[in-house]
Amino acid sequence: MGKANMDSWDGFIGRVGNTVTYIRMGKVVKRTIGISTKPATKNQKKSRQRVRITNEFISPVKEFINVAMKPEGQALKKTPNDLMLSHTLLNGIKGEYPNQEIDFTKVQFSKGKMPKTPGLQVSQNDAGLEFTWNTELIKNQFRHDDQLMVLVYLPELKNAEFETHAIKRSAGKYQFDMLKEDTPTRMEIYISFMSTDQKRVCDSEYLGQLILPAREE
């Protein structure tokens, strides 16, 4: 895929033969278009499976990454979906074709230059999850009104529960209620912080895996 600088580019937009040219996020993009009738090679099948499972993985968290990846996306002139897809494809998949799967310890749901918050912890209680963290501020990096972002991924349900503006950093703890399902449910837990103006965000932190017990009648 070729990209050109908008300032120096004055060509055509549209389809020519098996290529198509268009402007996306302020950049001119030229790529091939059309369906190949050739049988896919093993590497193509492997790559297609990676893209498929990554897209399925991203689908339930689109609203979350639209907030969490936005600052980084604006800086790099990419969409939040581009960033998430790219990072997951490169780092977040384990196993060999055809048994490739998401590696939940390595995926990231937010990306930015804010430093990591020390003392992040999660514990489970009857109502759901309780998060705690160190509220000490780092000058010019942390503010007391930074917003906590919580994401709980439920792989078996192909769903996610999240909060993009949960509570201020100064609170030090946050109760995240979870509704129980009919069967025990695996939860992959992530946490991050974002400034109130939504311009600075830290990399999401993986806090481990917990099991949400089944509900009692």
Binding site: S59, K62, E63, E161, F162, D177, L179
Partner: protein
Amino acid sequence: MAYHIPGGLGEFRGRVAGVVVYRWRQLKLGRSRPGKSSRKPSKDQKRQRSRLGLISRYLSKFVYVVRDGYNTKRMNITSMNAAVKQNFHTAVTGEYPNLKVEDALVQLSKGTLDHVYRPTVKTKENGDITVEWINPDRQKPGVNDHDTVHLVFYSDALRRRQLFYMDDLALRKDDIANVPDTVNYFKGPVHVWMFLLSADGKRPSNSRYLGVFNFIKK
């Protein structure tokens, strides 16, 4: 026979020799004239045709449901074709020639709108039917209290179809929908599905199968 529609540009529609020209949505399409093959179908062809026929016939009963449940305005495909494509591999079970449609696996809508928690069908002793669900305290972006709840009741016990589709009974915020008595008079086991649709009618949720029930006649 092809005919010419007069106008600024004009166009042909119909059959010209072996080609049929027609217009669908904004597209002008031409395809070769349909014809029967004299060759006998292979086993794979029979299997494929059988699956396609089975799921198409099944979904044809839900045409109004599918129109709401599959929003394909931005795709060059009809709602029914999208529904058949979705259910072709997932809802048909068994090996040819003993194929059957698994009601619990049929998806009558597909979309990214968030569903509600634990929707359940409840019947009272006097025969009243309600569908109840739980709204979580947290609402995801894009979710609205005024999303409409769509309920589908279907029974295949009679040769004539028994289908009841309700799209204006309740909103997401209501937590409950009271089902009209009509459903009580369905013969045989009744299958129930539920999905939500945004107020503008553009964003559906995935449909959820609520189970099969034998309702009490009033």
